[in-house]
Subunit: 194 residues, 2 copies
Amino acid sequence: MDTDEIIIKKLFKTLVFTPEELKLIKSLFIKVSVSKGDILMSPGDHVDSQFYIIKGCLRTFHIDSHGKEYTIQFGIDDWWMSDYTAFFRGGTAIMTVEALQDSHLYMINRENKDYLYKQIPEIDKFFRIKLERAFGTFQRRILSSLSMSAAERYVDFMKYYPELAKCLKNYHIASYLGITTESLSRIRKELVYN
Amino acid sequence: MDTDEIIIKKLFKTLVFTPEELKLIKSLFIKVSVSKGDILMSPGDHVDSQFYIIKGCLRTFHIDSHGKEYTIQFGIDDWWMSDYTAFFRGGTAIMTVEALQDSHLYMINRENKDYLYKQIPEIDKFFRIKLERAFGTFQRRILSSLSMSAAERYVDFMKYYPELAKCLKNYHIASYLGITTESLSRIRKELVYN
DNA sequence: CGTCTATTTGAATGTACTCAAAAGCGGTGG
DNA sequence: CCACCGCTTTTGAGTACATTCAAATAGACG
């Protein structure tokens, strides 16, 4: 079994494919390597592709008119990333996707993904279930943003994503929590004493 | 064509069914009527079902340990509602689902839904696409909660969901925006003068 | 008209923000 | 090995925005 097949098995976890299907899948993904700091997608881009992170760390963030950054999502190994406000509707990006570490990715465009759905219908079910999980996760994030203080959200984040935290600067985390780096610094200082 | 068939056509929009499929679908949904103020689901309930709103208005909210309410989602005609932090994982509710108006609903439990997916595989695709749209919507809501002031979020909400606003009290909207009723009142006062 | 609920107002408090500056950290080149 | 540079984090002071708690109005409904 070659490297790509190992990756595809991890990507589609529960599913089992015939050799022909595996070959098809391999042909529809493009392997991409990026370096720390590289920008994979910028506001205004026509969003036609989605990235599966084989190995690495990415983030999706929005920059407002004052130049402030708001991180919508981080991704590490085995996660999918894109500007989903645009990808699923076939629109124009409002987000930036940035590599926070040297990363290896699988890229697939909408056309190939649609073709994949048509050829292997169980993949529809696979992504349906993946999206259901994400749906629950998003609702929890909204609930935390509504009900928890900045300090609680920080503690929660560090508890649930310790591996992720390793490849992040504090200002990345601040922009994800919706606070300034100064505030995060003060929160961290408080926590040390408690 | 009977009433149920009209509802099912609206529910599955793009899909076309054979008479047998229609009969199957009808048999898997249960019609429920609730009155304003009724609670459809409470924290601690085993979440096994999901509601499609034929006509009416619902909200899903969480109550924290201090008794404060945080609204995660509103729903009107043609929306789906449940505690999705629990439904998609088969867990226990942390949310309350409440009828804000007399409402007519279709209810389906997980078992029947899974059976439906098995019998009519295109429905997998249908919900996959529905979830993709919801995914983008959630990302936008997270972005607003990160980047916009309470006043901006209020104006935005009223602009995007004018029909929804009609069946809501101000304290519902406040609990959705993550602010107190007092703050919302002051925001509304400010807006009148501008 | 009275009652219950929802909204508004006021005053004091708290939390996070802005702006400005200092300190810390990591790498590079002399 | 040290000096310097750029980037990140921390600290300080003053300010803005939303909160709390308490009380006063306004609306809805029987």
